[in-house]
């Protein structure tokens, strides 16, 4: 069973890397850019067959290590 996890900075946390990417894209002539936020992406494969259990495990992984909940949010999707 495979899941994707996306970790992004919370809305009110400054994302200087995203800002620089945005500025650079604007310099390349990409207009009408409203906002860019940079994040992290994980693909996690489990041997479990029970989807509920597997989702719980991935959720636990996010809370314990993959995301720092003070500054980051995460989203889990089955893929």
């Amino acid at each position: 069973m495979k899941f994707s996890v996306t970790v992004t900075l919370k809305k009110d946390v400054l994302d200087p890397q995203g800002k620089v990417v945005q500025d650079t894209l604007q310099n390349l002539g990409m207009n009408n850019l409203k906002n860019i936020r940079q994040g992290k992406y994980f693909e996690i494969e489990l041997n479990d067959t029970d989807q509920n259990k597997a989702e719980k495990k991935v959720d636990d992984m996010c809370k314990k290590l993959l995301a720092n909940l003070i500054i980051e949010d995460y989203k889990v999707n089955k893929i």
């Binding site: 946390v13 400054l14 200087p16 890397q17 620089v20 314990k64 290590l65 993959l66 720092n68 003070i70 500054i71």
Partner: protein, 225 residues
């Protein structure tokens, strides 16, 4: 006084702090991160460096290492813990200190001597300093931009848990004297029991006039006091 310095793959200030501690007459031991027992310690130092190459987030992997459980237990029993630079980042990842160190606001790795001001001199770590004393000290980091939630920031101020603030050489704390964008120029904080200090500047680099100055000697002599 017995001290232990925790060593992770990628630590690079571990020997500097060991030299500083021994110079100040601590009986020091180095402890590899895979150990599951700490030697008898009055002080545990989590040193600077790039533990695990800063993979995932600075300090995130080291914050879940085997020895860290022992550090957490010792800290909760009142043992003194000093986290320097990456060590500060690791302590926030363990939850021993609240908040987080974000990427420097200007996105640059900053390595330079700056000034900090002693905010609370009534602790085990700072009793040899005068209040508001200005120190010249080195910083060398990419993620030193301290951030925390408004409630904790209030607690830091109300409970006198801010150890140091970045300032200029006259002690003025403002935006111009803030090198990395830290909230309220915070350079170091204590936990609520004040037995844990996390700081981004490197005191181990300021104990010998031959290479810099001796502005951090009093931090170590405070601990011995």
């Amino acid at each position: 006084m017995n001290s232990s310095v925790i060593v992770f793959p990628g630590s690079n200030c571990d020997r500097d702090i060991a030299v500083a501690l021994e110079k100040m007459q601590f009986k020091n031991q180095m402890v590899w991160h895979k150990e599951t027992k700490l030697p008898k310690s009055d002080l545990i130092v989590v040193p600077g460096g790039f533990s695990y190459g800063d993979y995932l987030r600075s300090g995130a992997i080291a914050g879940k290492s085997l020895i860290i459980n022992e550090v957490i237990r010792a800290a909760n029993d009142g043992c003194l813990v000093l986290g320097i630079c990456n060590g500060f980042q690791i302590l926030t990842e363990t939850g021993l200190l609240k908040g987080v160190l974000l990427r420097n606001q200007n996105l640059k790795f900053i390595n330079k001597d700056i000034n900090i001001k002693v905010i609370n001199n009534d602790t085990k770590f700072s009793n040899k300093y005068k209040k508001d004393q200005v120190l010249k000290i080195n910083i060398a980091h990419n993620e030193g931009n301290y951030f925390t939630n408004p409630d904790h920031l209030k607690e830091l101020n109300n409970e006198n848990l801010i150890a140091f603030r970045y300032c200029d050489e006259n002690g003025v704390v403002n935006k111009d004297s803030n090198p990395n964008g830290s909230l309220e120029n915070i350079a170091g904080i204590f936990n609520s029991k004040k037995n844990i200090l996390g700081m981004m500047p490197h005191p181990e680099r300021m104990v010998d006039n031959l290479i810099s100055n001796t502005d951090a000697v009093n931090l170590f002599s405070s601990l011995l006091n």
